[in-house]
Symmetry: C2
Subunit: 248 residues, 2 copies
DNA sequence: CGCGAGCTTGATGCCGATCAATGCATGTGG
DNA sequence: CCACATGCATTGATCGGCATCAAGCTCGCG
């Protein structure tokens, strides 16, 4: 990590690109899905910049002018919306290969804050250029629309969770979602290290941190999990799944 | 309204287009925003079909193959996701000029159900053709992306509501949102007729219908509303706004 | 070793769910 | 035109889950 500049608003440090989309090991999860070699080259020339975002730093804030989407290259982020009176609601957690910034397209300003939960790197995708390139490359246009649509479907899932599930079910659904995404990145689907605090989980799930902690203990007592601080082992994935499917 | 066909799955009746996007009085709210005359003509030729959807009928269901977006031409819709065990969560209410179907793009199948709450008409927007046309017309591409992004921002607002507001605040926020959208369509911003039941409002807001009813009564007792069944008059818009802004 | 951030656990209280009864408007058939 | 049924809304009584308040606990770190 480069040392962050000493400005009032810490700016993530810019890095020259070492690797390109065409050689990125996340290309099957990210924007380049289904692109031909020549299309990948053009995408490479578009995604020419990478940013390092140290743990705890903000990538962009609500009301910042929108210019780019970002692809998480490595690390982990949370997105959050802030109310007039200063309270926060986490709206998402993002891992490698996932895209950030769709909230900015509609009004030319971002509508949420994005914070790195560990030292992270993102690829910068200038949006006007992406739009231009997607006019030439049908598969790129298609993939972009798909990703944005899935973001909507994902949000509907969270709305469903917040509207109709109880504490333990919420936590179970959350953990299943995390393990699934980790598994599709080649990580274990039973062993995970949480990148966020109980409070951040609670904010995401519409619960207080104490309730999250109690829910962890309950699931452990039921023999579904083994929890030690941020180390979580899923002992009974089917049981966890049953808990979610039954009431949800 | 044509009489619905007597099939196991009632199909909304198809109507020939009488009017086009170029002469639609919703064009400032819908997809045609900022299009030139020649662009509007091309859009007209794309949006060649209209469907009548009688009250209570479904426009599309989760898992139906995705082919089109729909623009609400007249009437009122709800969208809802259904859990494995059959419970429903309303994820949105849509009025004239708003678009339906973004949830289907990501997987080529819709992910929610869409039901008309009153006799309605929608314009059919074949998606592949829309994608093709948006490759030629930059303003159309831009507008399409904007609308989809706003859908995401809207969902974040609902997530915030579900995660951190209490019953009366949820209802206040809901009513303010409705009146705002009605006002931008030229309707009164203080007088409205609810198109949905207390139960549907409750499902949307993550509350039970009794709680919704009590919240209506409370807001009325506080002199903010005058409620008579589905007739609602906003007596004190600023007070309602204060209720939402204070805790949210 | 001592401090602090984050986590766990217990005791209590409140908001909204649940259960239940009543009210009100619309529609239908006698 | 009235009797009755039906769907939706309101209101009350009670219950339960989560929030709140309050200690302790654990671990990393200076």
């Amino acid at each position: 990590m480069d040392t962050p500049l000493l400005t009032p608003r810490p700016v993530p440090s810019v890095q020259a690109m070492k690797t390109a989309c065409s050689s990125c090991n996340l290309r099957e999860l990210c924007l380049p899905v289904a692109l031909q070699d020549n299309e990948l080259e053009r995408l490479d020339s578009l995604v020419a910049q990478r940013l390092a975002v140290p743990r705890g730093e903000t990538l962009y804030r609500a009301r910042d002018p929108f210019r780019s989407l970002y692809a998480v290259r490595s690390g982990f982020f949370k997105t959050l919306v802030t109310t007039a009176d200063g309270r926060e609601q986490v709206t998402g957690f993002l891992m490698a290969g996932e895209l950030l910034g769709f909230d900015g397209i509609g009004t030319d300003r971002y509508s949420c804050d994005t914070v790195a939960l560990e030292d992270s790197q993102v690829c910068v995708i200038p949006f006007e250029q992406l739009e231009a390139l997607s006019r030439d490359f049908l598969p790129l246009q298609r993939q972009f629309h798909r990703i944005m649509s899935r973001e909507i479907v994902r949000d509907h899932g969270l709305i469903l969770l917040l509207g109709s599930m109880r504490a333990e079910e919420r936590l179970a659904a959350f953990l299943l979602n995390l393990t699934q995404r980790l598994a599709s990145r080649g990580f274990s689907s039973t062993e995970l290290v949480l990148r966020m605090t109980r409070e951040e989980i609670g904010s995401y799930l519409g619960l207080k941190l104490e309730t999250v902690s109690r829910a962890f203990s309950k699931l452990q007592d039921q023999g579904l999990l083994a929890v030690r601080h941020r180390q979580v082992r899923v002992v009974d994935p089917a049981g966890l799944r049953r808990l979610v499917d039954t009431l949800c």
